[in-house]
Symmetry: C2
Subunit: 468 residues, 2 copies
């Protein structure tokens, strides 16, 4: 099958580079006009009995699948958070898949584990993170997860372990443990709190008009819960909220957490990457007192999804919470205590070689290249923000890093505009809500976006607004 | 960067095909003689400032990383479960990475979701699973997860939702909910039970000498727990345990679960693939009464890791348990109710296009090809089992499908043999334990293994045994 593979892989590479060129030249729409079931109906009802040539499957990919995709690296994709990508990342995925190893323990592929330790340390240094998060620094370390969702769940579990003195491992949770965040935390936070068995998180108020956690409200609630016999366990703060890229005031929040002995997890999924640039290093303020921190390299660092990096300064709590050591995982390296086994840093037992992709991206782009990408996107967001700010009827709600949030006219008009934009296949722009009021947000991240893109997107938004 | 990519990708393909040929011809050892820190020391302490050519990074991959890997598709890799792979799977990973879409909702790439619905239905039909697990069948459906670990956690969460009448979502668990499995369940089961906040699972006894759950013991314990005011929530049964590929008696276990209204999750991570072959369809017996079932395509279906398929016959409980709908995820397709949003079927919010890989593998190999692979491995295991059974001093503990479990002499001698095999870089063979006694196990799965491999591996095992 190798010969068939070599020829099919060459075709795939050619198709992909043509695809990227089409994105760059706007030859493809950002999203399809797609009726539910259209792709499913184009496929047979059962798998074939006989094998088929790879080239035929590849051709069907472009005729059946690609027309039904939303192109997350398209210049006019300003929704959610654009998913990063680059040729270096794609090459690494090819090599990772081809080598096909499983790195659940050091012993099951020593180089996979050590490369990951080195590369997450590289990234921590590049972002200027506290030394307590480094593998080479003492009691901490980083690990690659699939998502900020999994990262926050792992952090919550570590916090439960620490808050319960380990008793949680055997007894489970019992209705006393509490998790805290604002209503502006990403939906993955309440979801993880729920999965960990804690029900709904306690919602901490934001300071009016900021979208950011009020540390006084946090302190008051922790005091009250403590007095009520509850166990405040974990506070999840956000550096860069989804709706408006608001920053919970980490130094003050961390201070409250420290006083109460509560685990502080910081979700920097999007904005954390900005710290690559010295001028944006303020996003790290207060992290030295955090117990864990997560950044999605797949959001703003040219690394394809999935690639979230979770760091902790309390490796022991995290790994003791997650560790499980059946006979079939016994091996001399683990027992020596001289190695890291990443199975104990994540929910799944098995894991692919996760670090190769980040290693390729950091080397191929260099820190200079990644900083330039951040600055480029910040520049485009600034252009859109200034335009919106000048336009009668529009209201600029927030402009932070590569994110712009805005309203048009009344709340009803903003909602009408959101509906019109959702129906327009020429751009993707996501709605959100702050303090009960709707807004629209645009986030820049496409490697192909230019000032001309901003102007085209703005023209479309303005045109739709006039009909609202 | 595209030109650099095309040339580097061509080199990567050539390197990978050479690598696979080296595995097939036994030109590489299965694992490295690797001292802790060897790879880390070969890497710089920081990421480079300037970008580097992809070809240099590729060359370093082979000089620095590959020598420190354990080769999971090597013919002499008989440990854990071999991680499946194939050129079709690798090609699909390349295309998936290159297209770089994110399929958290139908609307964020309709074709990604629909392809997944179709392909997991294909696989369900190919395995002869109950129609209740099909998307096209009514109240059920399948979804691709990263691992059997995540699959069982999702199932536990769905079970908690159903057992609590939904109250668990807001109130959390409270010490009354119980999960049940035997001591032979994979370690991912107690880990998932712990993460869900239930503490340790209740261990149900196995029928002596079988490694399989005693359904009478299960019934007695559920009765007792119910009388004690507890809430039996989920039973995790295993089709093919890790140590000896034992099968919990599903029809009897399902009967008990149904009587008690308890969610039954079945972990068929390894053995489930055998149902591709009509002669092994008995592994499915009893599944028609299961609420959820998981099979790892990355164990025995030529699909690279990660690729676990989780099916449920109770889609509503699963998605209601996991759903979360902040403003930024609102979209007309979701609100219409006409589409599936896989974010509500898994722990993370985001997800790559997971189905392309399984689609490529099913088509490239065809069901005939996948059945032939299962039969080949079963044949090799039979050859090793017969040899062990004939050899004085060795005791064949179990021989099921592609797995062989054995002891040598006393328990002390078996442990000594395990230690010698762990130190031998010429093969990988994993220890395990049943009823407190050690054993060794070998699982066949390498596409390159032949009868000659079996004989070479056996000669090595025999030689090491003579020194114990």
């Amino acid at each position: 099958m190798s010969e068939d593979f070599e020829s099919a892989a060459a075709q795939a590479v050619a198709r992909l580079t043509a695809h990227w060129a089409a994105l760059e030249s706007l030859a493809l729409p950002v999203e399809p006009a797609h009726a539910p079931g259209a792709t499913a109906r184009a496929l047979p009802a059962s798998a074939p009995e006989r094998g088929e040539p790879l080239e035929r499957i590849l051709a069907d990919t472009w005729s059946v699948v690609v027309p039904g995709l939303v192109h997350w690296q398209h210049p006019a994709f300003l929704g959610y958070y654009p998913t990063a990508n680059s040729p270096a990342s794609v090459l690494a995925e090819l090599v990772t898949a081809g080598l096909g190893v499983q790195g659940m323990m050091w012993s099951t592929s020593p180089a996979a584990t050590e490369l990951e330790q080195v590369v997450v340390d590289w990234l921590a240094k590049a972002l200027g993170l506290p030394g307590s998060f480094l593998h080479s620094g003492g009691t901490g370390g980083g690990v690659i997860q699939d998502s900020a969702s999994s990262a926050v769940l792992v952090a919550i579990v570590a916090a439960l372990h620490r808050a319960s003195g380990g008793g949680w491992r055997t007894d489970g949770v019992d209705g006393r443990y509490r998790a805290y965040c604002t209503g502006q935390a990403n939906s993955c936070v309440p979801k993880a709190v729920r999965i960990a068995g804690l029900g709904e998180p306690v919602e901490i108020a934001t300071t009016a008009g900021t979208g950011a956690m009020d540390p006084h409200a946090l302190a008051a609630r922790l005091d009250a819960d403590r007095r009520a016999g509850l166990v405040p366990t974990v506070v999840v703060a956000t550096s860069g909220t989804t709706a408006t890229c608001a920053f919970d005031p980490l130094p003050a929040v961390a201070d409250v957490c420290r006083r109460h002995g509560v685990w502080l997890h910081v979700d920097g999924a999007y904005a954390g990457s900005a710290a690559l640039c010295p001028e944006h290093r303020a996003v790290n303020d207060g992290l030295e007192a955090a117990d864990s921190y997560a950044v999605n390299a797949h959001k703003w660092m040219r690394t394809g999804t999935p690639c979230d990096v979770l760091w902790t300064s309390d490796r022991a709590s995290l790994t003791e919470a997650m560790a499980i050591r059946p006979a079939f995982l016994h091996n001399p390296a683990t027992e020596s205590g001289a190695v890291v086994d990443f199975r104990d840093w994540q929910i799944p037992l098995g894991r692919p070689m996760r670090a190769l992709k980040l290693w390729y991206v950091l080397r191929a782009h260099g820190l200079e290249g990644l900083r330039a990408a951040v600055r480029h996107d910040v520049g485009l967001a600034g252009r859109l923000a200034r335009t919106i700010d000048r336009e009668p009827g529009f209201h600029l709600v927030a402009h932070e890093l590569g994110l712009v949030a805005f309203r048009y006219g009344t709340d009803g008009q903003t909602r009408a505009l959101a509906a019109r934009l959702a129906a327009d296949t020429g751009l993707v722009c996501t709605p959100a809500e702050v303090e009960g009021r709707p807004l629209l947000r645009a986030v820049f991240g496409s490697p192909y976006a230019t000032e001309a893109t901003v102007d085209q997107v703005w023209a479309a938004i303005r045109r739709h607004a006039q009909a609202c």
